[in-house]
């Protein structure tokens, strides 16, 4: 009786608050998707998990904090000023993260690649880069100091209502920016010369080198694309949640999971996986046993395991798992 009541109560909460859960799920999912793209691209071209990618995201968040406070101070932006600051925040945070991602590639991975190091060496190097960036941020900005960017629009601002549910500006911005940046990345990978290079390297790097693809340049540009999306996500995440040196680890795990769920190496799979995990995490909150929110993570990973049992390469993954 109690068990049935628990589930019925959960469904009742979903029914009454559907749009609220949907909006927050899309917001989180958009951020996971933007970060997941970086994981999947790097996996596509290098065949390795860039464990420092969460910290690349974190650097973008901190960059946005400094940029927005430098421009706005303690004031709150509105109207066109908000639009300008959102664009500037995305540009700066994306650029800083792209720079950091490039640095990670040049320092942590390239020397190993030139020496044909085993994959295990890449893994250790990635973890080292992750710890380095996290520790550096902790020392510079304070361990556990959750800092917020200036209010580029009023925090908690409602943009419109669906029924009686307020939909917030940050939720709309996360979704719109996520969709635009994902489409841009997808077009680059599918329709440009650079994209052809990325896909060629992902399929067979030695043959693509023989065919004239500049491997080093292609890999660097892959890190730049992934870093840019992660940086923009860092900015948007910080607007809602603030940013702290450990933020990258938390979000990185979710984003990596999203990339695997969607099919690691598949760009569209990463986006789909991110959105699904965001939505699933949100809609599972009413079903958390004894109100313990950690159950949402358990549910999420149970679903991940079930999906992988049925489709080991993920929802949109292909047999090679490296399609970029």
């Amino acid at each position: 009786m109690g068990f049935a009541h628990f589930w019925l109560s959960g469904f009742d909460q979903i029914r009454t608050g559907f749009w609220a859960y949907f909006a927050v799920g899309l917001e989180n999912g958009s951020l996971y998707a933007m970060i997941a793209v970086g994981y999947t691209l790097v996996y596509g071209v290098l065949g390795l998990i860039n464990f420092a990618h969460g910290e690349v995201f974190m650097c973008g968040g901190f960059a946005a904090v400094f940029l927005t406070h430098g421009i706005l101070g303690d004031s709150i932006a509105n109207g066109w000023e908000s639009v300008f600051l959102i664009l500037a925040g995305i540009a700066i945070a994306g650029s800083v993260s792209a720079l950091v991602a490039t640095g990670v590639e040049q320092i942590a991975y390239r020397p190993l690649r030139r020496r044909n190091a085993p994959k295990l060496a890449y893994l250790i190097s990635a973890i080292g880069a992750s710890y380095f960036l996290q520790t550096l941020a902790g020392k510079e900005f304070g361990y556990g100091q959750n800092v917020f960017p200036a209010q580029v629009f009023p925090a908690g601002q409602t943009m419109f209502f669906i029924g009686k549910t307020p939909i917030h500006t940050i939720q709309v911005v996360c979704l719109v920016v996520g969709v635009i940046m994902f489409i841009a990345a997808d077009r680059i990978v599918r329709s440009t010369k650079l994209g052809r290079g990325i896909r060629a390297v992902a399929q067979d790097s030695e043959t693509s080198a023989l065919m004239g693809v500049n491997i080093d340049r292609t890999i660097t540009l892959t890190f730049i694309i992934g870093g840019s999306l992660a940086g923009a996500a860092g900015f948007l995440y910080a607007l809602q949640n603030g940013i702290v040196q450990s933020s990258g680890t938390e979000l990185g795990i979710y984003a990596f999971t999203a990339a695997v769920l969607g099919g690691i190496g598949n760009l569209r799979g990463a986006a789909l996986g991110g959105l699904l995990i965001g939505l699933f995490g949100s809609f599972s909150v009413p079903f958390a046993f004894e109100g313990n929110i950690s159950w949402t993570e358990i549910y999420t990973f149970i679903i991940l395991v079930l999906v992988l049992i049925v489709r080991p390469t993920g929802i949109l993954g292909e047999k090679s798992g490296r399609t970029a």
């Binding site: 909460q13 009454t16 608050g17 609220a20 859960y21 927050v24 799920g25 917001e27 989180n28 951020l31 304070g142 361990y143 556990g144 100091q145 959750n146 800092v147 917020f148 209010q151 009023p154 925090a155 908690g156 307020p166 917030h168 940050i170 995440y237 809602q240 949640n241 603030g242 702290v244 450990s246 933020s247 938390e250 979000l251 979710y254 965001g278 995490g281 949100s282 909150v285 009413p286 958390a288 004894e290 109100g291 313990n292 929110i293 950690s294 949402t296 993570e297």
Partner: protein
Amino acid sequence: MKLRWNKTVALASIGALAMTAIPLVAGSAPSGASSKPTYVIGVQGPFTGADSDYGDYDYAGVEFAVSQANASGKYPFTLTTEKFDDQGSSTVAPGAAQKAVGTKTLVAIVGPAFSGASQVSYQYYHAANIAEVSPSATAVALASGTNSSFLRTVADDSVQGSADATYLVKTKGVKNLTVIGDESFYGAGLAKVVATQAKALGAKVTTKSIANINEGGGGNAGAYSTLATSLAQSDPSAIFYGGYAPEFGLLLGDLASDGYTTSKHVIMSGDGSNDPALLTSTSPATAANGSFLSESATGKVSYFTGKLATEFTKLTGVKAAVAIYAAQSYDGANAIIKALVADKATSSIATLRSETVASLHNVSFTGVTGPIAFQSDGNLKVDKGSVQISEVKKGKIKLLTSVG
């Protein structure tokens, strides 16, 4: 040429060492100086990170007590202080405790500041017979056994949690309360006391828990958004959060975004959130306005008054009016000093440490916070008293009333 250069450098180095050695020797043994032994009273707490205020205030209280003791000249020892930074984290604390245990002239610790850090540090101090006198670790389960080496100069969470529940149900008339614990040793413990007491007083209580982010809980900030959405949907008349300021600030911002505000609801937290860091951890900062914060009266900040407050600020550079738990640290350090005086053996630090544990259980004096004497389980003998409720008003934490 290279050899000559090396000789020159070597000669210059010897000369420089000789020059520096002279004042060093003179400084260590001034004429007429007594041969008093020097002991270290350590302070374990967060000196970096979001909660570093707590560590700084604790240290200031100990520094003040030690300075007064040394200046009095009446003790057969000289005291110094040393910081051991645990960042308030259960994962960092064991390292800090081991470093303290390895400090050769350390006789006792004031701290740790936080309950979770205290829980994991205890085994190291207990094994080395080092007394810990915490000014602010309030989790009920910390004090237990007999002749405990963990003692505290603050009332435990059973006092604060019960008073918080009474304030919510009796004073604010809350009928439907959601209590959230942050899964930390401290936060979950306080939340449990509040939930139990509020239920006993007749309120409908729903319990929830969410992993903290900054105290080693590994939580995810995005989960706070979804929790806030869920809370706004269920719309309880009040929320109590057992945890620390950074996460409480995050929750306040998320709740305000979802329309769950302090203007229509009661939102409260305990002493873990009663920290100026709450105001910088909340976005928008106005979302914190109207929230209530409690702390045990034994944790109030107004114990240093008049001349004592002036001297405290002059020595430490810390304003007495904001230095939460500095007075408890001051009393803790003075308890250790009185125990050291009562100790008989001076033959070895190891003996002195274990004697200090035993002597602390026999100290009895009136500190600035009230009577200081310990039960065999380490709790204060007078482990009761009122609890103070503060409210955030216009971006400042203002004392509102005393309850309990």
